[in-house]
């Protein structure tokens, strides 16, 4: 299954060439999307279709719009122009079927919650106010914790966990939510190889079961190894296609531009100093002053 996206054109033309017809079993669809923060354009002219069961990595340089894309799909960011559709409705309408795993850096790890609590949060949206989690919810959470192999750490506070364990706890939340769409922001960044394998194996299972997984990563090797399709984003969609797309030097040049140093045949170095997309003013929530950023 391929992800279709229209590469950005040099000329402004409001009519998209491809990607907005209704035939494909599309779970996520962006058409003609322009979006940014304050006056700054973050993503330009995005057309993107993600079919059911896809396992997509969104790659690109930092600040290029990866997290922005994820937020658009999650429905927490509204596009300036164009439409974003998820599960057949505007993004956000079916939010209970979408699970979002945020970047580890943005989480307050000193918050007094246990692994079980975090996973149970995945069940909250479907419960509504006043209703308590019931047996079905507890069973779903227990099953999710089993799958991520965190059942024995269920009562630990998240602050006491290692990086990999923290990642798995949030994954359990997404799974307990029984979502149809997984949106993961840098899921394999900063975790050891075995945990990477474990997490991506889970996501592959989910994709095989018909869920749609979209994850951002700046780790090209991980993208190639674990994902089935790739969308390269650098202020616009630079390229999209099967996972081995990023081994193409031209594609790499278009994604990383001046950050790519070509050493010789088939070898290149990408220098992309680690920093985060600025979440920017419009989206500031009270928690973001809490030093979640480096």
């Amino acid at each position: 299954m391929t992800v279709q996206a229209r590469p950005a054109r040099t000329r402004r033309d409001p009519q998209p060439e491809i990607g907005c017809d209704d035939d494909s079993p599309t779970i996520i669809s962006l058409c003609g999307v322009n979006v940014g923060y304050d006056d700054r354009l973050a993503l330009e002219d995005v057309d993107l279709q993600v079919p059911k069961g896809a396992l997509v990595a969104v790659v690109g340089p930092n600040g290029g719009g990866k997290t922005t894309l994820l937020k658009l799909i999650a429905g927490v960011l509204r596009p300036w122009t164009g439409t974003v559709e998820v599960l057949g409705a505007p993004a956000g309408r079916h939010a209970q079927r979408v699970a979002y795993v945020p970047q580890a850096e943005l989480v307050d790890w000193s918050f007094p919650v246990s692994v079980w609590n975090v996973a149970m949060m995945g069940r909250y949206p479907r419960l509504g106010p006043l209703r308590h989690p019931g047996r079905a919810d507890r069973e779903a959470v227990a099953a999710a914790l089993e799958r991520v192999d965190m059942a024995d750490r269920a009562r630990s506070t998240i602050g006491a966990l290692s990086g990999g364990q923290r990642r798995r706890a949030f994954l359990a939340r997404a799974m307990a939510a029984e979502a149809d769409v997984y949106l993961l922001d840098e899921p394999v960044t900063g975790v050891d190889l075995p945990t990477q394998e474990a997490i991506m194996a889970l996501m592959a299972d989910e994709a095989d079961s018909g869920k749609t997984v979209v994850a951002t990563t700046h780790d090209l090797a991980a993208a190639t190894r674990h994902f089935r399709s790739i969308v390269a984003v650098n202020r616009c969609v630079v390229a999209s296609g099967p996972a081995d797309l990023v081994t193409d030097r031209d594609v790499l040049a278009r994604i990383y531009g001046p950050h790519l140093l070509v050493l010789g045949k088939g070898i290149g170095i990408i220098d992309d100093s680690h920093h985060h997309d600025d979440p920017a003013g419009r989206e500031r929530h009270f928690h973001e002053d809490r030093g979640g950023r480096p």
Partner: protein, 283 residues
């Protein structure tokens, strides 16, 4: 003077019993709402909202409306304004708070200065006048406190998720913006309830200190709130008794008791942490 007299003598006076009950209720509600504030870094916001109640009180005094009515409108209005300004995104949160805080308080002083005659009532709002709480005041206070606590209970899960991970919560469909505004409104309402007991200047301590103390020892969110609420409800007992026998300002004495407890727990948990590091590592 034995222990029995120390405890029972003040209880013979209805004003003391009312002050005690009022302080306990106020302490309980403040600590509950304050738990969210401590986890979200809203302490400055709390102080700002309490100061912004002042012009509301002054205006109500001038137009001869109930003072609590004016305080509520001013505090809740400022809370929503700060929330809105922050979401517009052009200012950092603490800048927005600082600007509105100072402006509102200055507005209050400005209006205050235009009142030609003496206004002792308004001083009571600055520093609290828990000894002056009548039976009717106590009933309104209890009713509003029940409203705030009920709201917190009803939206317990949603507020927890939105506090912990706003992005994840929003993505999974919770109305995070509305929950933010709800929390701000609850804070404002809690402050208004507490004005008579501790006054504008000190109410932030009632909000923050018990929750800060609880944060040192609680390992789950539920336990944090319950511990904070217990501290908030029990410290005023000691505080009021102390103020009775020492003949000191009641609100300030309660705050000092809460702060003292915080220091004690801080020292104890710090010591415990150091001892734990000496023990062999268990996994």
């Amino acid at each position: 003077m034995n222990l029995q007299e120390t405890v029972l003598d003040p209880l013979a006076f209805p004003f003391f019993v009312r002050a005690l009950v009022a302080s306990m209720i106020v302490g309980l509600v403040c600590a509950t709402v304050g738990s969210y504030m401590v986890l979200r870094g809203l302490a400055f916001m709390g102080d700002a909202l309490s100061h912004s109640a002042f012009p509301g009180v002054v205006v109500a005094y001038i137009v001869k409306a109930p003072l609590y009515f004016g305080a509520s409108i001013a505090a809740v209005g400022t809370a929503l304004a700060i929330g809105w300004l922050t979401r517009q995104g052009r200012l950092r949160t603490d800048t927005a708070i600082g600007v509105l805080f100072a402006a509102m308080f200055a507005l209050g002083i400005f209006l205050f200065s235009t009142i030609p005659n003496y206004v002792g009532d308004l001083f009571g709002f600055l520093f609290g006048n828990v000894l002056g709480i009548g039976f009717g005041d106590l009933l309104s206070l209890a009713a509003l406190a029940a409203l705030v606590l009920a709201t917190v209970l009803i939206f317990w899960k949603e507020l927890l998720y939105a506090t912990f991970d706003p992005l994840g919560a929003a993505a999974s469909g919770l109305p995070v913006a509305r929950l933010d505004y709800l929390l701000l409104a609850l804070i404002a309402l809690t402050i208004v309830i507490s004005l008579q007991a501790v006054g504008i200047i000190l109410v932030v301590a009632m909000l923050i200190t018990p929750a800060a103390t609880a944060q040192l020892v609680a390992r789950s969110f539920g336990r944090l709130v319950v511990t904070a609420a217990a501290i908030g409800a029990l410290c005023p007992i000691l505080g009021l008794y102390l103020s009775y026998w020492l003949n000191s300002a009641s609100g300030a004495t309660v705050v000092l008791v809460e702060s003292g407890l915080f220091l004690v727990v801080l020292a104890a948990t710090g010591l415990a942490g150091r001892l734990r590091r000496l023990e062999p590592e268990a996994d």
